[in-house]
Amino acid sequence: MPASTTRDYPDEPGTSHLDNHHPEILVSGLKRSFGKVEAVRGIDLELHSGELFAFLGPNGAGKTTTINMLTGLLRPDSGRICYQGEPFVATAYEVRRRIGVVPQHNNLDRELTAAENLRVHGRLFGLGGPALQQRIESCLELAGLSEKRDTPAGKLSGGMKRKLVIVRALLHEPAILFLDEPTAGLDPHSRRKIWAFLRRINQEQHCTLFLTTHYIEEAEQLAERVCFIDQGRIIASGSPDELMKRTGSYVLDIYNDEDVDNEFFNDRATAMARLEQIDRTVRIRKTTLEDVFLQLTGKRIDP
């Protein structure tokens, strides 16, 4: 990330030098319970610089709890989180500067303009002066919101608000951007625009993206690596292609009276041969991540 912005934080303890020899994020044995509910039951993760990583699972699987622990909004009951080898503790302010967070809700100040929302964020991260102004303008431009700079955030459309929240998280030039359900609640058109926007951020700003989603298509479209989470545990991980190949690249949907059975095949020819043997309604198609999850857990991600 370019380090062009002046910062004002000489008074903070806990700063240290981070290096490039460690994984961007290394997580081991992460656990968190709420009362008797074990939301996260021991998660191990490793993320490398520049990756576009998706945490995929149904609602209530532990995705948000994990992201909240990784960003310091929740304390883990046990386990260890390191950013570039540096343990993530409450006073690790240098680590916090490497993190940008896009929460599930558009937590903007509705009365403040788009530019003012960015200005406040910049000041909270120790930015100021002409450099902050320059960052605000370039973030508004990145989001295509330059013309809306003086519009109160509450009057922006859903897609615009989402983009504003995303560029707000990028304002202090973080190395890692966490996005919790970045397109939840958006219409399909806005969703696709956000996907293109995120790809641009990953490629042009060289920002590591860690997103949680329960949308299969989102993970398939965006992620280089996907981690399936269910009931607080990681149940599989790999690239979407790897995961689908592990299950079988082709699937036959065999329609019964009340249900649909699936049979998986590594190649299309074998699948076609099997299709010809079946005397019921059958459909051949490519395997999706939803099929992989269904195979692993016996249930659908987005029922």
Partner: protein, 246 residues
């Protein structure tokens, strides 16, 4: 330096500017009604401790109204924490959480100054002479710091907006009526006196009234007491906010 506290103060004051008219109105109406009901109604022609009732009442109203405004940050923090979730921005930012306390405290102090200006105007209309000396501003600063800190503390302890209303009903409303705003605490029954003695407003009202009317009711000790309260409340709020999660 202190970029976190300054950033929080900036955010809060930008929002305050957007709703300044409403805040001014809220700060003006309630003291005006109390002034009419108690000053010109119940207390007309009455004397308290050798002075007319209006001279006794207006400093009390100033203290109470400024307390209400600085404590009102509790509701704002509550809404930003549980409803709009903007408070998460503070929790994610790279500074010690004591800076959240500091930034919000100064915002509470700023808000508390609004009714002071309004009631100063009322005093001119009522012909009551008040002395706005440095001793008064020091007392006011300590008073507003205490109630801002109490507001932050309440907002951190409660788990919902409804809980906030409960705290207000059981803490702020009794404090308004039992801390010497409308009647001298000394004239109240023993049980009420005992309750009043635990309310910080009792002491700040006494000190602010003394400074505005140029009296000395053991002011040195009262300043010391308010300073101790600020230190204890700041420490306690810092401790609690450090444990806050989403």
């Amino acid at each position: 330096m202190l970029y976190g506290a300054r950033g929080i103060y900036l955010r809060e004051t930008l929002i305050l500017r957007r709703k300044l008219f409403k805040t001014l109105l809220a700060s003006a109406v309630s003291p005006a009604l109390f002034l009419l009901a108690f000053g010109f109604g119940v207390g007309r022609g009455a004397m308290v401790g050798g002075q007319d009732y209006l001279s006794f009442l207006i400093p009390g109203l100033l203290t109470m109204a400024s307390m209400n405004q600085s404590y009102a940050i509790a509701t704002e923090i509550n809404i930003s924490r549980f409803y709009f979730k903007v408070f998460e921005e503070y929790l994610l930012a790279p500074f010690g959480r004591w800076q959240i306390v500091l930034g919000e405290m100064f915002y509470g102090i700023t808000r508390g100054l609004i009714p002071v200006a309004i009631i100063a105007l009322y005093s001119l209309f009522c012909g009551v002479s008040l002395h706005f000396s440095p001793a008064f501003f020091l007392a006011l600063l300590l008073h507003l710091a205490i109630f801002s800190l109490l507001g932050i503390l309440a907002a951190m302890i409660v788990r919902s907006h409804a809980d906030q209303a409960t705290v207000n009903a059981f803490l702020i409303t009794p404090m308004m009526f039992l801390s010497g705003t409308f009647f001298p605490v000394e004239k109240m029954p023993l049980a009420i006196k005992a309750v009043a003695s635990i309310f910080p407003l009792t002491y700040s009202t006494r000190l602010i009234r003394s400074t505005l009317l140029q009296q000395d009711n053991g002011n040195g000790l009262l300043y010391l007491l308010l300073v101790v309260m600020v230190i204890i409340l700041f420490g306690l709020t810092k401790r609690i906010i450090e444990r806050v999660e989403v």
